[in-house]
Symmetry: C2
Subunit: 124 residues, 2 copies
Amino acid sequence: MRLGNVDVPRDTCQLVGNILGHLGDKWSVLIIVLLRERPMRYSELERQIETVSKKMLTTTLRHLERDGFISRAVTPTIPPRVDYQLSELGREVMEPLDVLARWALRNSDRIVEARSRYDSDHEP
Amino acid sequence: MRLGNVDVPRDTCQLVGNILGHLGDKWSVLIIVLLRERPMRYSELERQIETVSKKMLTTTLRHLERDGFISRAVTPTIPPRVDYQLSELGREVMEPLDVLARWALRNSDRIVEARSRYDSDHEP
DNA sequence: TCAATTGGTCTCCATTAGAGACCATAGGAT
DNA sequence: ATCCTATGGTCTCTAATGGAGACCAATTGA
């Protein structure tokens, strides 16, 4: 793998791929973006995202916690209360994520065009 | 959704999420990175990636083509020859992708640490 | 004559995602 | 007194998705 003009050894490359893979799965980025605004409770995230199942919300949060992007604070009241917030690492990853999101935003027209071109070329 | 200090309307945000989603799936980034080096034939990509199944390689290539990141050139010889290469859009998306990959590279230690901390805290 | 090559598609099985029931418990409303 | 709601999950069952690999058509080289 190459980054800029640096050759990246194979196992490091796998790690990067792995991290990118996690960040790239269906809900991670969305959760990070939401938590950037402010810390949120589990149920709040659930309501904000709407289309996520409890199971996937839980597993995605666990992954993000394990990788150190968010922290999880339990208050053992009844009913229980669990707050999630971005960690320092989570806040830092926002920057490259923003770069990518801004690029997507700037170029969304071109992608939409490419798609309709492809679709009209391939359906007959 | 917010990017920097700009508020992004909901449907545009969905598009960005959608694009990020595609880029984030298991093989896309790897294929883009490989094609940055030089154009490659189907079988060459297959050999480079090793662990990808034909089915997934084909569907990922189709998605990338539909979104306009790569182009596909068929030479109808026997046996057939199909060349894939990055389009202009594909070359442009490398930049934000590089930013993210470099970040991952710089911070991989912290993530590895976070993981082992999490694992030792949660297994007993 | 036989094997190898290519870019897929197709089928069959394994893994993963999603929908939603369920839980324990307290406080508030009726 | 009794119900209802709220919370942060887990668990089960089903639907969708992913992977392994057989198969194909046709030509060239051994």
